[in-house]
Amino acid sequence: MKTKYLYKAVTTALLLSSASVAYASDASTLDVGRLAISGYGDVGYTYQPNKKDADGNDIQNNVVARFIPIFLFQMSEKIHIEAELEFAVDENGETETVLEYANMHYFFNDNTIITAGRFLLPFGQFGANLHPSWINKAASNPGIYGGHGGNGSMGGVTGIMNDTGVNISNTWSLGDAGKLFTDFYVVSGPRQEAGDHGGGVDMDVKKGDNNDSMALGGRVAYAFLPQWEIGLSYYSGAYSNDGELDYTAYTIDFNWIGSYATVRGEIFGSTAGTEWEEEVELPDGSEVHEEFLQDLNKNGFYVQGTWQARQLGKAWLNPIELVLRYSKTASDFDGSISHVLEEDGGRMGSRIYYGINYWLEPSAVLKFGAESTSIDNEAASHDPIADDRIFLQLAFGF
């Protein structure tokens, strides 16, 4: 099943359901609407005392701005469409437009939802639920998600964010406060990038699938509401053009949500098959060319704590929230080889973020943060990169 069939399916559903008038549900107590526009945006300023551009010039100040509208359509009680676009002005002053997701939910029954189209993969919590800037308590992304909208030097271990396919989500009640959440999906999967050793895993899905194998994944989570949720996610797909190199990843997310504080984190691991070749000298002095496959691993974790000073009961402290986050990654790429998967990263990286947030509204926040990254690049051709940053960000959801 190729992406275009999915788009066709979504379009057909759209057409079919727009042919029938959205009807008022007897059950809902709300006036039934058809369209809502929501979304989020942010303006961020980053100060990096030791950042240089490719020519060695100081580039220490960056301003980025993003505007991300979400279009929600209610076709009927059972069919719902959502699409999110991202407009961003990056640090080089260039404007980017990205389709984050565009999908259809079919509310199959009381506890089953089928989603088709392009959607945020239920892999862990950060990518699916916590990355919008008014939700993310920090002005940067956790180290293991360094790639997307985050900040460079500690290359993210995963690019798993969104893809095109079908997801089935279920909810089961286990007693009064216990819940079991399941998601299973089939998506078009990662692609192969050009480069040595089989290139790298390219998670950019706008190009469609490159092989006839789909990627599979899912998340099973246990929640004990309102305080606990622990999830296990798995993802696996062939990424090479010949379908022989696989990329697999898992993440365990844990979330504790108190009345004033939260503690969240993810423990992540991934393996990518890669191609290698070597000249082997035989005892008789002749050389043979050998090709072999080797797995390269990347793993890491992040843990983040937040606390609302409101707990102290002083009115002037009500809008203030403190944030502390630590991330660590390790990878088989030691910088001695050139490989796309390596990104800019080193063998080991760790990053700490300290932040103070000032809440202006339930979904508008001014974040002030300081982040320090240390990367051990022992075998890399370049020296360790010092990377300390200060952030000021205004984020809002609407």
Binding site: A27, G33, D110, I113, N129
Partner: protein
């Protein structure tokens, strides 16, 4: 076909989900106190899990009806749970349910503090007399600690001391506010 094999387990899960769940959801009005109270509890347990809870007055009822399915999917709520949350949101946005100072209250009997607390679902978010949710603080000592004036002001304008408050604004009558305060004060 490969795809069929892949999709089969999902179909099985779905069919079993279907048989386990009942379809019929009876029509209940926003004035159904028990549904509103249940919705307040579900809101308090679910709507602050990922982000700050968004207060009802941010959207119209029409907009909420479109936003809620989006959040039902995010939060993994059942259809019935989503309906209860909708009833709760609707209850604070519905003029004939809220009993503001401008609407005539003469023809309606004054409800007791206890009734009002139930109808408005305060215990979805607050512990009162040992029972309730934890999204907001317990209210048993609030009147004693912060005074009657503070509580009345909080009910009138929840964001007056906290711009990010999830506490719904209930434009209830002065008599209703007083009845709630008296109830909160009582042992």
């Amino acid at each position: 076909m490969k795809l069929i094999k892949l999709v089969l387990p999902f179909i099985i899960i779905t069919v079993s989900a279907l048989t386990l769940s009942t379809f019929s959801v009876s029509a209940q009005a926003a004035s159904d106190g028990s549904l509103v109270a249940k919705g307040a509890k579900l809101y308090s347990e679910n709507c602050g899990r990922c982000h700050n809870p968004r207060p009802a007055e941010e959207y119209t009822k029409r907009e909420w009806s479109v936003v809620m399915p989006h959040m039902r999917a995010k939060a993994h709520m059942t259809g019935k749970e989503a309906l209860a949350v909708e009833a709760f949101l609707a209850s604070t946005l519905t003029a004939d349910i809220r009993d503001d100072d401008h609407s005539s209250t003469q023809d309606k009997p004054q409800r007791t503090g206890e009734e009002l607390v139930t109808v408005f679902g305060c215990q979805g978010c607050h512990i009162i007399k040992g029972e309730g949710g934890t999204l907001g603080p317990q209210l048993d000592t609030t009147v004693a600690d912060k005074g009657v004036k503070f509580v009345i002001r909080k009910l009138l304008e929840p964001t007056f001391n906290n711009a990010a408050s999830a506490m719904p604004r209930y434009p209830m009558s002065t008599a209703d506010k007083q009845a709630i305060v008296d109830y909160l004060k009582s042992e």
